[in-house]
């Protein structure tokens, strides 16, 4: 079981690195926002696996908060992109 948990951590870490590559080379801002969203999804998964490994249920609340923050950040970035920085409401 420990081996599978470590394998899962390794795969998730590789995904983090790949996602970070897109975050760095992404040609436009929407690409980077999509990469950030995927990054936070992977972080939610990592927090879940860590809660499983350490037998600590309170880490799941952190996962909920991270998911919420990523959604709000994406919507905020989208509004920023569409309105060009200045809002008239």
């Amino acid at each position: 079981m420990q081996i599978l948990i470590h394998l899962s951590f390794a795969i998730l870490a590789i995904s983090l690195v790949l996602c970070f590559v897109r975050l760095v080379i992404g040609p436009s801002l929407p690409d980077r926002v999509v990469a950030l969203e995927l990054l936070s999804m992977i972080i939610v998964g990592i927090i879940g696996v860590h809660a499983l490994q350490s037998d600590e249920t309170s880490f799941l609340d952190v996962a909920i908060v991270v998911a919420l923050m990523s959604f709000l950040a994406t919507v905020g970035f989208a509004r920023f992109l569409e309105r060009g920085g200045r809002r008239d409401d």
């Binding site: 079981m1 599978l4 948990i5 394998l7 899962s8 795969i11 998730l12 590789i14 995904s15 983090l16 790949l18 996602c19 590559v21 897109r22 436009s28 801002l29 929407p30 690409d31 926002v33 999509v34 990469a35 969203e37 995927l38 999804m41 992977i42 939610v44 998964g45 879940g48 696996v49 809660a51 499983l52 249920t57 799941l60 609340d61 996962a63 909920i64 998911a67 919420l68 990523s70 959604f71 994406t74 919507v75 970035f77 989208a78 509004r79 992109l81 569409e82 309105r83 060009g84 200045r86 008239d88």
Partner: protein, 146 residues
């Protein structure tokens, strides 16, 4: 038995995350990248949360994992839609192999107005004149404001 199922869920969920990350690096276009990341990551989070729920086997943990799953399932499509819409309006480059962009002929990027393809053949000149007048009057100053 439960341990075996749990390990299977863990590794499968991580592999789906890896597929999403590979897609976001390899695919050529914002929209195709979104298509890879949203679905793969949602399924990965769901499987990982199922593994966590199987490990603890308590009601409180069930409630939390189901909350996370539902939250991800609710927000991932909305976020993808919002960012795809914003990217299209900003004017991202579509992939060279894109066969059809159905929004382009029916959408006026200056006035942000969409007219349906059904009404167009009947009174094209009138509706166009009306649309131009409206875009100069009502929408024009809102565009300069934004």
């Amino acid at each position: 038995m439960i341990e075996l199922l749990q390990g299977l869920l863990l590794v499968t969920g991580s592999l789906f995350m890896l597929i999403a990350a590979l897609g976001i690096v390899r695919l050529p276009d914002l929209l195709t990248r979104m298509h890879a990341s949203t679905k793969g990551a949602s399924l990965g989070v769901m499987l990982l949360m199922a593994a966590v729920a199987l490990h603890f086997l308590e009601e409180v943990v069930f409630a939390r994992t189901i909350a996370i799953t539902f939250f991800v399932l609710l927000t991932a499509p909305v976020a993808a839609h919002v960012i795809g819409r914003a990217g299209y309006f900003v004017g991202i480059e579509l992939w060279k192999g894109t066969l059809k962009d159905e929004l382009r002929p029916n959408y006026n990027p200056l006035s942000h107005r969409l007219h349906s393809g059904l009404k167009k053949p009947a009174k094209e000149s009138e509706t166009d004149a009306l649309r131009d007048g409206r875009s100069e009057g009502g929408k024009g100053d809102s565009d300069t404001r934004a």
